[in-house]
Amino acid sequence: MNIPRAKGAELSRRDFLRSGAAVATTTLAPGVTLIAFGGSAAEAGTDAGKRWGLLIDANKCDADCSACVTACSDENGWKGTGNPETDAQWIRKVTLKNTTTGRETSLPVMCQHCEEPPCVDVCPTGASFKREDGIVLVDKHTCIGCRYCMMACPFKARSFVHEPTTNQKSHAPRGQGTVESCTLCVHRVDQGGTPACVEACAATGHGAIIFGNLKDPDSDISKQLAGYSSTALRPDLDLNPGVRYTNL
């Protein structure tokens, strides 16, 4: 059998139209289109008109709370194997201390979903990629486990899976020899949901993480960003991350 092997990045228009995802677009008036996706708009998946992001308020984050980390681990099935130096960690609690004033701040750090992701620049196979809606992912089908991306990431956000895995979640396949990181819970976001960490943080009553579309000026997150000062981690690198912090 001689089958043409299409690479992910080269999905042809024909392949796309042939698939179940065929999209019917009707132009109603210049600039106004109606896109029918066979179902509701929430199933549309990636959309360049969106950019998903998080806004983390360090003042609201409790130093003794790690509900977001636990929720992420439960949702995506990563857990310690007793080797803390190499165990996967998609999100971690970090404590910053201002050595002059002694003020301590606690905050969660995960993949910052950069607009200019260094991990994507260095990937030799194209496995590390950014979706149209700004979510940075590892396509583990093409990941060869070289770990260049882990070295390129200024936030130490990626992990390498060292041990064989069992009982993975069906929505979060993960296996030995590949790199992984926060996916912003794509499997939920694609279906109109919010990431597990955001939900868990809200459930504790802290409400320190807001999730939303940075390109929609009416979204909660955009309004907060417009109204209050915020910062990116390592703003000097000009990566324009989708994850922002206030009260650092």
Binding site: M1, I3, R5, A6, G8, A9, L11, D15, F16, S19, G20, A21, G38, G39, E43, A44, G45, T46, F129, R131, E132, D133, L137, D139, K140, H141, P164, T165, T166, N167, Q168, K169, S170, H171, P173, R174, G175, Q176, G177, T178, V186, H187, V189, D190, Q191
Partner: protein
């Protein structure tokens, strides 16, 4: 080449044997494909036998790259209908020869690594450590571990000497 011949043989047998199997019992030469539940594929069994790998490769990119979660050839979706059970009625993992994805693959000597990452059963079924059936389970003996430790220590003492 051998793979190809075997595959051709399988196809010939699978296709050719359908009318024959109706007359007599299924040939013992054919792989036993575990029965499925739910709606059969609109494209037919023959199409899926030949094309499932390409359908899945195509559709996985739709999910990964374009966030489309309503794909036809979803690997996790396969086990909604193709969760093969053993004699006791327990759902088997890819470790078992009775697993749906091994029924034909063992026969044609194909080995896939999908279950290194993906579940080979529906969510909720407990999968043991060797579920992905990738590496033969060779238990490490105590002496093996000792020899590795000895080797590493030898290296460490050499670096210590070099530093002095």
């Amino acid at each position: 080449m051998i793979l190809f011949l075997r595959f051709t043989l399988l196809c010939v047998l699978l296709i050719g044997a359908v009318p024959a199997a109706m007359a007599q019992d299924r040939s013992a030469l054919l792989p036993d494909i575990p029965a499925a539940t739910g709606e059969p594929h609109a494209e037919g069994n023959e199409y899926w036998r030949r094309n499932h790998m390409d359908l899945m490769r195509h559709d996985r990119d739709l999910t990964m790259r374009e966030g489309n979660r309503k794909i036809d050839a979803s690997l996790k979706g396969c086990f909604d209908c193709h969760a093969a059970k053993d004699g006791e009625g327990t759902i088997v993992t890819y470790q078992s020869e009775q697993h749906f994805c091994r029924a034909c693959h063992d026969y044609v000597a194909v080995k896939v690594d999908c279950f290194m990452c993906h579940r080979s059963t529906p969510d909720g079924v407990d999968e043991g450590a060797p579920h992905a059936a990738l590496v033969p389970q060779i238990p490490l003996k105590e002496t093996d571990i000792q020899s590795v430790v000895a080797y590493l220590q030898q290296g460490a003492s050499k670096t210590a000497e070099a530093k002095q």
